[in-house]
Amino acid sequence: MSSILTGGRLGVLIFALRSALFFTPLPALLRDDAQLSSTLTSYTRLKEGVYLFRNGFDPYAGGVFRQVGLLVYHALMFIAQCSANYVVPVDGLAAWCLVQIWRIRSNTRNVAQEGLIVTVYLLHPYLLLPTLALSTSTLDNALLILGLYFAAYGKPSPALLILAILACMSPPFALLLPPIILLLMGSPVSSLARPISPQIDYRRMYRLTAEFLLYFSVLTLISSFVAGGWSWTYKTWGAVILLPDLTPNPGLWWYFFTEMFDDFRPFFLMVFSVHLLIYVAPISIKLRHDPLFASFILQGIISTFKSYPTLADPGLFTAMFAIFPEIVLHLRHPLPTVMLHVHAALLLPLFHYLWIVQGTGNANFFYASTLVFGLANAAAIVDALRAGLRIGFGEKPGHELIQR
């Protein structure tokens, strides 16, 4: 009992320390950094949208505000009442949910591991810095973890509602619907080591999908009602596919479409969007015995290849390694992956600063670091997926496992 208290105390201590950072000049400095908050998640743009909305202008008329109408409504409440620091408790809640997910998954109360999860989630720079920048990616991440938490504890309605909210705010996360439905029907307990495919109740699956669609359409209707029309769908969800804003970010889309020949733009936009869709079915089917792991892998893929990623997206993926400690032993090349990440973590801010702020660098340097960053994430995903499948075969003395 006392050790659990210690784990809790550690969490509270870290939480208090990082909350104190909000009272330093750091948030103001980081607020408009394009690596921490994208067009879709920027706090400055959110404020502008709220300002326009309050002053009787259509916030979706221009290209400045691209967040969902639903969020406008909430932001109105939030910003009016408790200023900007509403994100402070959000991360704490997310960390608590992550610990709960770990508990049900491992069926243990390993204090050291729980402390690790909390520490990694609260102190991961890729998660902490966007939070300090008041980016709504923090909110996206927290909602995803909350959704996974409800799904892991077998509560379909809250899980699907939260996923619907998340899909409204950040459409690529809708791709997590299949693994989350599988998780609702299956068990969160780690079954990577015993890969037995569960029987799937198709009628229940359809029912859950319909429930999600119901929530999603209701939320869409509310958003349209708040925004007074449908134009917002084009400005928010359309932006995810059409990439109207080419602000440099750590993702792979922006430079590709900055440099794209105009005639080929629609084709490659289609290719890049479809590329994200491709992975959903194979990964959900192959990993249907452990849907939580499937959502982990899919989240990694989405965060690496989506149109407007911030550091918070790969940040969540890397932080979630902490709830899958079983795969760590089976990773093939953890060191090169970590080195790639370190390389990218040092070069991304440096080259961004040199090019954008200082005006001395060249776009190619920053592009090269985003490539390294993409490679680091890709390597981590591939390795994690391979390790997840590898565990199921155990060890056999005198033999080696290969792929045919």
Partner: protein
């Protein structure tokens, strides 16, 4: 005998002019010595076409032929074809210095090209289509890049640029406004301009339009202004303004004496016979002693010497001599009741746009601040702050000093338009600051000299209390954007696609290939065995 012949000729000309009552042409030149030794000159050529309507209907366009004696046909056809009731087009070069030159004779002194038109709506075409046709037509007519004033640059202000004439009732009209700050006026624009004059540059004051001197001026600009007055008819004003620098032209003499010969390198040798009035106005200085030759025909009460060209048969070369042969530069006396300054401070992506409005009078002024920006410049209106004499007044909204009258945010390559009504307390300086974001744009959207940056249009300040000048323009700004590497398209496509393909391949490799156990004898030859089995 000679006198009789000339008299007869003059009578014939007068008769010819009288015969054509429906069109009337007059010209004048205004000269104004400025306090910094320069000389402001404004040529004005006015043609009035007496008609009851501005633009004929679509059917009349085909039925009724257009016959003009004095009105330029090419322009008349454009106006009728695109249902334009009022048109103002200016091509200026340089920055009008309000502080030392005072108010310009024509308020449109924006650097580069500026065009605004009131176009009738209705009929088969949309107003946007008409604007497109009009700009392209004027492009050809004036040899200027007016065709670039497409929907990327065109806005419709709701308060600024009200019609200067009348608009025919019964038809709804729409205002379209666009600027092209990087456009320059030069001799290829002057030649078609002169072609539109009834006497060309062969007689009358247009003889002074010498491109070598006009385009050497410190500020120069030409304008085409068309408006309809219910009582008069269609009025076309072709204007050319130049701020000449006699001190510079006098080389080492440092003298501000000027004459037509010295500043235009031409004189007027014959009047334009068609002109119903043809006058030269010289604003007489009141402080320094001077002499003006030849003798003045008459003097207007407000201290303006008037030369009438029509009754003058000999060559005219107006000369002004100052008693002091050397011009001494003095501190500029700023008599402007309202001065404006605009700045853009910040980096390549984030910047602060600030505008300073100085009211030097002991009355509260209300002005309209019009800001148009290309589509990649976003305003963050919630950051709009105002200070009075440096004291912060708090953030918008709501604000006692500013009221946003209209705002069109940039979207899909349409420009930003902000119209803000600003109240300036007596004898104080109001500074408005707003954060702007300069978005990144695709490599094909950058101008050829991308690293130089973009010329951003001037802000327009329009006093709303009808007191002072009609419009004040700020200088243009240079906005630098983050530029991509223009040689990279293939490399980026190749490298990003490689990463995507590598990832796709690895994932599907892992997902589809089945795992098998292979027996390993010893560590040394394990690799060989694995190789054998896989083959």
């Amino acid at each position: 005998m000679l006198v009789l012949t000339i008299l007869a000729l003059q009578l014939a000309v007068a008769f010819a002019a009288g015969e054509n009552d429906s069109e009337q042409f007059s010209e004048n030149l205004r000269l104004r010595p400025l306090q910094d030794g320069r000389l402001s000159s404004t040529f004005e050529f006015v043609t009035i076409l007496r008609t009851r309507t501005t633009v004929e209907s679509e059917s009349a366009f085909h039925e009724q032929a257009q016959h003009y004696t004095l009105f330029p046909l090419a322009l008349g056809q454009l106006l009728r074809r695109y249902a334009v009731s009022e048109l103002h087009l200016t091509l200026n070069s340089g920055k009008w210095n309000y502080e030392s030159w005072g108010d310009p004779d024509y308020p449109s002194v924006a650097s580069g090209a500026e065009m605004w038109a009131w176009i009738a709506a209705g009929g088969g075409e949309s107003v946007d289509q008409r604007w497109k046709g009009l700009t392209n037509g004027l492009s050809g007519l004036l040899c200027a890049s007016m065709g670039s004033l497409d929907k990327k640059r065109t806005t419709s202000p709701s308060i600024a640029f009200r019609p200067e004439g009348d608009l025919p009732s019964g038809k709804s009209h729409q205002l379209l406004y666009a600027t092209l700050p990087s456009e320059n006026v030069c001799t290829e624009n002057l030649t078609p301009f002169i072609k539109m004059l009834p006497c060309k540059a062969k007689s009358g004051i247009a003889m002074l339009l010498n491109p070598h001197r006009l385009f050497d001026a410190d500020w120069h600009g030409m304008g085409v202004h068309v408006r309809w007055l219910a009582q008069e008819g269609i009025e076309l004003r072709l204007t050319f303004g130049a701020v000449l620098n006699p001190v510079r032209l006098s080389l080492n003499a440092m003298s501000r004496d000027w004459s037509f010969r010295s500043v235009f390198d031409r004189t007027i040798s014959r009047p334009c016979p068609i002109a119903t009035s043809s006058s030269i106005y010289v604003k007489l200085p009141y402080a320094d002693p001077y002499s003006l030759t030849p003798d003045i025909s008459r003097t207007a009460p407000e201290g303006v010497a008037i030369y009438d060209l029509r009754d003058r048969l000999e060559e005219l070369d107006v000369k002004m001599r100052w008693r002091d042969p050397v011009f001494h530069f003095r501190p500029i006396e700023n008599k402007q009741p309202l001065s404006v300054r605009r700045l853009l401070l910040g980096g390549q992506t984030r910047a602060d746009l600030s505008i300073q409005l100085m009211n030097k009078e002991n009355v509260t002024r209300q002005v309209l601040w019009l800001e148009t920006m290309p589509w990649f410049i976003y305003f963050y209106l919630h950051t709009l702050t105002a200070t009075i004499d440096g004291n912060r007044m708090g953030k918008a909204p709501p604000h006692s000093l500013t009221r946003i009258a209209s705002y069109a945010p940039p979207t899909d390559h349409k420009p930003t338009l902000l119209e803000c009504i600003v109240t300036i307390p007596p004898l104080s300086t109001v500074q408005l600051t707003v954060a702007v974001e300069k978005a990144s744009i695709a490599y094909t959207e950058h101008p050829p000299d991308a690293s130089r940056g973009w010329d951003l249009p001037p802000a327009v300040i329009q006093p709303l209390d009808h007191h002072g000048p009609r419009r004040i323009y700020t200088s243009t700004l240079l906005g630098d954007l983050p530029t991509p590497d223009f040689s990279m398209p293939y490399n980026v496509i190749i490298m990003t696609c490689t990463l995507v393909a590598l990832f796709f391949g690895s994932i599907f490799n892992i997902l589809t290939r089945s795992f098998i156990w292979v027996e390993v004898e010893g560590d040394d030859d394990a690799q060989d065995l694995v190789k054998q089995k896989t083959e």
